[in-house]
C-alpha cells in the first residue's frame, strides 16, 4: 500500500482525551466522533486538515483511556496514517484492530516539518519526505500482527476463527 499525504506534527504524550474528549463518548458513530477529533488541542483541526493527511508525533502517542473511539475518530476524520516515535500499547492494538495504519520511526519526528508531503510504502517499509528527497525506514511489525492486517483487521480474523471452529465441532 502507498499512502501519500501532508504532515501534521504533534508532540509527545498525545492522550486519547485530547484525540476525542470523553464528553462525546455517548456515541460510537464514526462520522459524529470525527467532527470533534483533536478539538481540545485545536478547535479547527478537522476543518484545516485534508483527507489523507498524515500525523507525525513524538513518543507515547495515544496514551490514557482504552477508548477505541480515538483511532475511529482519527480514521473517520480522514487521517490516513500515524507515524510516531512510540505508541501507548492499547492505542496501538486498537489502531491495528480497526485498520488504521500506524508505524514507529525513531528518526521521523525530528526530520520532518508540518505541511511537508510524505509518501509511505508499507510493503517496502519505507517512507519518503518528498520535499527533502530523503527516505526513512519504518520499524517492521511482528508476523502475527501483519497477518491480522492482511486479513483486514481483527474482526475478519475472528470471523475466520468462528467458521473454523464450527467446522471442527
Amino acid at each position: 500500500m502507498i499512502i501519500k499525504g501532508k504532515i501534521w506534527k504533534f508532540k509527545d504524550n498525545v492522550d486519547t482525551d485530547v484525540i476525542i474528549p470523553a464528553r462525546y463518548l455517548n456515541t460510537s458513530d464514526p462520522e459524529e466522533l470525527a467532527l470533534h477529533c483533536m478539538e481540545d488541542y485545536d478547535q479547527e483541526f478537522v476543518k484545516k486538515m485534508d483527507k489523507g493527511d498524515i500525523i507525525v508525533a513524538g513518543k507515547n502517542f495515544g496514551c490514557g483511556s482504552s477508548r477505541e473511539h480515538a483511532p475511529i475518530a482519527l480514521k473517520a476524520a480522514g487521517v490516513s496514517c500515524i507515524i510516531a516515535q512510540s505508541f501507548a500499547r492499547i492505542f496501538f492494538r486498537n489502531a491495528i484492530n480497526i485498520g488504521l495504519p500506524i508505524f514507529e520511526s525513531e528518526e521521523i519526528t525530528d526530520q520532518c516539518s508540518e505541511g511537508e508531503l510524505l509518501k509511505v510504502d508499507t510493503e517496502k517499509g519505507i517512507m519518503e519526505n518528498i520535499k527533502k528527497g530523503k527516505t526513512y525506514k519504518l520499524n517492521s511489525l511482528p508476523a502475527f500482527i501483519q497477518n491480522i492486517i492482511s486479513l483486514g483487521g481483527l474482526r475478519e480474523y475472528v470471523k475466520e476463527e468462528v467458521k473454523r471452529r464450527k467446522r471442527d465441532v
Binding site: 460510537s28 490514557g64 477508548r67 492494538r93 500482527i145 475472528v158 468462528v162
Partner: protein
C-alpha cells in the same frame, strides 16, 4: 532460571511452550468485561462475527458505570444496548443501577476476579485487579469482542520492572502517594508495554484498598499492567468472596527482571500531580497557595471504604470551604452502604459535601462535577490531561483522599496536617 509471577500466569494459560519475552502468544481468558462506553462497539462486532453465544456466560461482565445512571438520552441508549445484550445472551454478570459500582472495584469485590487469572477489560484501568495477583490488562472494544467470541487474547509477552519499596511510611502517605511518586520517577511512558511488579516490605504491609490504588495507576506510566504477589492480606480479602477456585503464583527469587528499582518510602510526602500529566508530582510541602473550586473523592482509584474513612477522619466536625464544591462518590453500592453504616456519609453531608451514587462521572468529564473554563479541581482520580474533567482550560490536580479532603476544607491545595495534627 526462575520465572516472574506474570510468566507463570501466562504459561498456565497458553499452549505455547517456552515462550520468550517479546513473543506473541494466544492466552485463555478467565474473565472479560466492558462498560457503557466500550461495550456498544464490542456488542456490534460480536453480533457480526457469526458467534451464537459468548465463550462463557459466567465469565463475561457488563457494567454500566461511566455515564450511568444515564446522563442523557444518548447514554441511555448505550446502557440499553448492554442491558438487552446481557438479557439476550444470558450474561450472568450484568450489574444494574442500584447494584453496580465502578467495574474495577466491583468485580474484585464480587469475587469474580481472582489470583492467577488472566483478566481482559475494555477499559484502561483493568490493571487495578493486578493487586490480587491476576494478570489484568486493558484493551479496546474490538479486542473485547474477539475475546467474547473466542475466549482468548493475543498478547506480546511483556518484560517486568520490579519496584521494591522499603522504609517507614510517613503519616498521611498512602498507596496513591507511592504510585504518584513512582510515576514521577519513571515518567508517563516509563513502563510502556511492560509490567510493574510492586513488592517489598512496604507493599507486604499495605492494605488491599491501597494495593488496588497502586495497580490502578500502572497504566499512567504506560504499563501493560501492575501486579502484586498474593499474600495473607490477599487471602483475607478473598474469604467469602471468591466465586471459583483460584491459583496463587509467586515470582521466583531468581526470576529475570528488566530492571529493579528500589524506593525508600521514608522520604516520600503526600504527593500532588500537577496538570496536565500524572508524572508531574510534587511533594505537598513544596506547594504554595493553589486555590481550588472543586474537590472530588471517588473513582476506581480512590473510592473504596478506606479512602472514605480517611476523608471522613479529616472532615469530621469541619466545614467545606465556602468557595469549594466537595463531591464524594463511593465506588460501589457495598462501599456506599458500609459508609452509611459507619456514619461516614453523615460526616460528609454535615461538612457540606455532596454524596453521589457510584459512577465514573466527573473523572473523565462525563457529568456529576464538570469544570467550567478556568476552574481548578483537586481529585483522587487518575488522570489530569487537558480537558479531562471539563473545559479544556480547566485544571485537575491528582492527590490522595486525605489531601483532597484537607484541600476542600481550606479552599486551596493543602496538607492533611494543616487540618489535623499527628
Amino acid at each position: 532460571m526462575g520465572k516472574t509471577i506474570v510468566e507463570k500466569i501466562l504459561s498456565a494459560h497458553t499452549d505455547t511452550n517456552n515462550f520468550k519475552t517479546g513473543e506473541i502468544i494466544k492466552a485463555r481468558v478467565d474473565f472479560a468485561f466492558a462498560n457503557d462506553i466500550t461495550a456498544p462497539i464490542a456488542i456490534k462486532y460480536f453480533k457480526e462475527s457469526g458467534a451464537r453465544q459468548v465463550f462463557d456466560k459466567k465469565r463475561v461482565g457488563l457494567i454500566p458505570d461511566h455515564f450511568a445512571p444515564n446522563k442523557d438520552i444518548k447514554s441511555a441508549e448505550q446502557c440499553k444496548l448492554l442491558r438487552e445484550f446481557a438479557h439476550e445472551y444470558e450474561i450472568e454478570n450484568y450489574f444494574e443501577i442500584g447494584k453496580m459500582g465502578i467495574e474495577h472495584a466491583l468485580l474484585p469485590e464480587k469475587g469474580l476476579i481472582l489470583p492467577g487469572d488472566i483478566v481482559v477489560g475494555a477499559d484502561s484501568h483493568t490493571d487495578t485487579s493486578g493487586a490480587l495477583g491476576a494478570f489484568a490488562i486493558g484493551v479496546g472494544s474490538t479486542d473485547l469482542a474477539a475475546i467474547m467470541v473466542l475466549g482468548e487474547v493475543w498478547l506480546k509477552v511483556p518484560p517486568t520492572i520490579k519496584f521494591v519499596y522499603s522504609g517507614k511510611l510517613n503519616k498521611w502517605v498512602s498507596g496513591k502517594d507511592l504510585i504518584l511518586y513512582t510515576i514521577s520517577k519513571i515518567g508517563v511512558d516509563g513502563a510502556n508495554y511492560k509490567v510493574m511488579e510492586f513488592s517489598g516490605e512496604v507493599i507486604k504491609r499495605l492494605s488491599m484498598d491501597n494495593r488496588f490504588t497502586m495497580c490502578n495507576m500502572a497504566i499512567e506510566a504506560g504499563a501493560k499492567t501492575g501486579i502484586i504477589e498474593p499474600d495473607e492480606i490477599t487471602l483475607e480479602y478473598l474469604k467469602g468472596r471468591a466465586k471459583r477456585p483460584y491459583q496463587i503464583y509467586k515470582s521466583d527469587t531468581d526470576a529475570h527482571y528488566e530492571k529493579i528499582i528500589e524506593i525508600d518510602v521514608s522520604k516520600i510526602e503526600p504527593q500532588v500531580a500537577f496538570p496536565h500529566l500524572p508524572e508531574n508530582a510534587k511533594p505537598i510541602s513544596e506547594i504554595d497557595n493553589i486555590k481550588i473550586d472543586q474537590s472530588i473523592i471517588g473513582s476506581c482509584t480512590n473510592g473504596r471504604i478506606e479512602d472514605l474513612r480517611i476523608a471522613a477522619e479529616i472532615l469530621k466536625g469541619q466545614q467545606v470551604h465556602s468557595e469549594v464544591r466537595l463531591i464524594v462518590i463511593p465506588v460501589t453500592q457495598d462501599v456506599y452502604l458500609k459508609a452509611i453504616q459507619e456514619g461516614l456519609v453523615e460526616i460528609f453531608i454535615a461538612a457540606g459535601a455532596a454524596v453521589s451514587t457510584p459512577t465514573c462521572g466527573p473523572c473523565l468529564g462525563g457529568y456529576m462535577g464538570i469544570l467550567a473554563k478556568g476552574e481548578r479541581a483537586i481529585s483522587t482520580t487518575n488522570r489530569n490531561f487537558v480537558g479531562r474533567m471539563g473545559h479544556p482550560e480547566s485544571e485537575v490536580y491528582l492527590a490522595s483522599p486525605a489531601v483532597a479532603a484537607a484541600s476542600a476544607i481550606l479552599g486551596r491545595i493543602a496538607s492533611p496536617e494543616e487540618v489535623k495534627q499527628g
